[in-house]
């Protein structure tokens, strides 16, 4: 993988959550949420992260933001290791990285006004003086296409799409370089979803932002991302340019995932080949040995049960973890 121009570098990231039991709360097992993933995010790029529920997408995002202590591995931001940052250094880094959540309602304090929610990070980081405050609120609200006169309203007085705009304005307040967008449009209606996607794309352009865009809707991820990583049970199965992934998916899981997405045009959808996977995703407490996907893979051979396929480069910027590709 190239390293020049990389804003984020993730190396062999592992994050286990302990399962505790008994009165002594002894660790009895590990939830292997993220189990050795490596990838880079270039300056100004949007990396999409897709995969089924529970595969570890949110955990990856939160590890990068240092919201979780990682189990092992390395995370670099602007070429500097951030896994051991503390105190003032950690605080400075936090300004540069922000998070946009899925559920705009649950993530906003219901008793605060929109203006205070948006500017809270500025107060936390001592980035605004008393008399600049209102101007700053107005500027941020305009940036996300909200009327500044609505600054005194509370979250419940806004629609879902407007609440997501508040969440975005708040994330932008400290002028970050990097934003983890964790399912930012999943809870929204189609028409509101396209408004928010367009807003995120415009802001990326205007403010030279870099995104990690997490979502389970593959069409949305493709639309907004330059490259896409596909995760399954804590591992990256395939990673490549967005257009390449959709035009030439190589991993059996990616192919199944893409074929499961119906195309909103009946004439085209009828012609598509479908790969129907059986069963559910296994538990991350006891992931299957060998290839994590072999229990549901329609191509699996004996080797898949025995040895873990490495993420290999198969040409230009296309990486795949499968024995049979």
């Amino acid at each position: 993988m190239k390293t020049d121009g990389d804003l984020i570098q993730v190396r062999e990231l592992v994050k286990y959550f302990p399962v505790l039991a008994g009165v002594l709360k002894r660790k009895v097992a590990d939830i292997k949420a993220v189990d050795g993933v490596s990838f880079d995010i270039r300056n100004g790029e949007t990396l999409g992260l897709v995969g089924e529920s529970g595969c570890g997408k949110t955990t990856v995002g939160r590890c990068i933001l240092r919201l979780y202590d990682i189990t092992s591995g390395q995370i670099l931001f602007e070429k500097t290791g951030i896994t051991n940052l503390k105190g003032e250094q950690l605080r400075r880094m936090r300004r540069d990285m922000q998070l946009i959540f899925q559920d705009p309602y649950a993530s906003l304090d219901p008793r605060m006004t929109a203006g205070d929610i948006i500017c809270e990070p500025l107060l936390v980081h001592n980035m605004v003086k008393g008399k600049e405050y209102r101007a700053k609120v107005a500027e941020l609200m305009k940036m996300v296409e909200l009327e500044p006169r609505m600054e005194d309203r509370c979250p419940h007085e806004f629609s879902g799409g407007q609440r997501q705009r508040i969440g975005i304005a708040r994330a932008l307040a400290t002028r970050p370089k990097f934003i983890v967008c964790d399912e930012p449009v999943s809870a929204l209606d189609v028409s509101i979803q396209s408004q928010i996607i367009s807003l995120l794309m415009r802001l990326r352009q205007e403010l030279a932002l870099t995104y990690l865009f997490i979502a389970h809707d593959l069409s949305v991820v493709r639309h907004i991302s330059d490259r896409v990583a596909v995760m399954y049970l804590g591992k990256i199965m395939e990673i490549t340019d967005s257009d390449e992934l959709y035009a030439h998916p190589l991993h059996p899981y990616t192919r199944a995932l893409l074929s499961a997405v119906p195309i909103p045009d009946p004439k085209i959808d009828r012609e598509r080949k479908r790969i129907l996977l059986s069963g559910d995703v296994p538990s991350p407490l006891l992931p299957p040995p060998g290839c994590r996907f072999h229990t549901r893979c329609w191509m699996a051979k004996d080797i898949c049960k025995e040895s873990l396929p490495e993420l290999r480069n198969v040409g230009s910027s296309h990486w795949v973890a499968c024995h049979l590709v």
Binding site: E52, S198, A260, P264, D265, P266, K267, D269, V281
Partner: protein, 334 residues
């Protein structure tokens, strides 16, 4: 096909809340034929679920009241039946799958018991036969080790499996009509594909009619025969699948289809955006087009009167003053 199973005529379901009268469903009419797969689409809060709950006669009163209309099913008007008569139809001739499985599965009964109960009541089976049938149904919907798992409780199953159990329950009495209200919104795409195939096979095998309520225009394209588009409580367009996708004639339908990103097309730089928000149903003036405020084709007449549904083609209805110009206007847009 062609035989009528359900006919909703001029249905009005209103809620009387402190903000006033909320016309959740207004003057709604549509039909479902035997074996037909009809999809109901539209923005959040446009009345899709309320229209389905009206058919099931499950509108909470107060604040909801079905103030008018008829729902003809099996040649009877469901709205004139007693609650007891309705109970013999619900879960039997008409079944419904809800969006959140846990709200409709009873947490303290085993899943086998929940399925067998309906079989005993509606099909007069003995307890033992009903349990056996329950296991068969669970197997049919893809629950592994079904004979053993009939004795387990809902929480012992994953979200996708709970949704399958709901489907098993819904089909247990071979309903003539299955109403699926966003049956796959809380599951992953690969599981969604499994569940939808299940529902579709049912219809092919037993001739069950399906009403699918969804936001997912891809699912509609894959499974529906006919599409009904609602906006602000009313039907704004209705047509066969191919007509709706190839010649949508209501600006809302057009915008909806254009605003979903698509896997199969070149990545467009910008997405079509329908501006603004859906109207507040308690404050909606009666004599305008409810979509006018967000419609880029709106003219003066659109805020002076309400466009009524008009037949514009075979089986194709549209409520828009400018429907005859839409094809040309859409070309100009491109």
């Amino acid at each position: 096909m062609g035989d009528r199973l359900l006919e909703v005529r001029n249905l009005k379901t209103y809620f009387y809340i402190k903000e006033g009268e909320l016309r959740a469903v207004d003057e709604l009419s549509y039909t479902v034929n035997k074996g037909q797969f009809v999809s109901l689409v539209g923005e959040s809060a446009c009345g899709k679920s309320v229209s389905a709950l009206s058919i099931m006669r499950l509108i909470p009163y107060p604040p909801g009241v079905i103030v008018g209309g008829e729902i003809i099913f099996d040649d009877k008007d469901l709205l004139s039946l007693s609650e007891e008569e309705m109970r013999s139809i619900r879960g039997n001739r008409i079944a419904m799958i809800f969006q959140e499985p846990m709200t409709s599965l009873n947490p303290v009964l085993t899943v086998g018991r929940q399925i067998s109960e309906a079989l005993e009541i509606h099909r007069g089976m003995s307890n033992q036969d009903a349990m056996q049938e329950a296991a068969k149904l669970l197997k049919l919907v893809g629950i592994p080790d079904a004979e053993r798992r009939v004795g387990e409780y809902p929480y012992q199953f994953s979200g996708g499996m709970q949704q399958r159990i709901m489907i098993a329950m819904a089909i247990s009495c071979r309903p003539a009509l299955l109403i699926a209200d966003e049956p796959t919104t809380s599951v992953d795409v690969t599981v969604q594909a499994q569940l939808m195939e299940l529902i579709n096979n049912l219809r092919q095998e037993f001739g069950t009619s399906v009403i699918l309520i969804t936001h997912n225009l891809g699912l509609v394209a894959r499974y529906a025969d006919h599409v009904n588009v609602m906006y602000a409580g009313r039907l704004v367009e209705s047509g066969s699948l191919d007509v709706i996708y190839s010649e949508p004639s209501h600006p809302y339908t057009m915008g909806l289809i254009a605003s979903v990103p698509r896997l199969d097309l070149e990545r467009a730089q910008s997405l079509h955006v329908i501006p603004g928000l859906p109207p507040d149903l308690t404050r909606l003036p009666k004599n305008i087009c409810a979509f006018a405020a967000r419609c880029k084709f709106a003219l003066g007449e659109c805020i002076k009167a309400r466009p009524e549904l008009e037949q514009v083609g075979d089986n194709h209805l549209v409520a828009c003053f400018r429907h005859s110009e839409m094809k040309a206007l859409a070309e100009v847009e491109k």
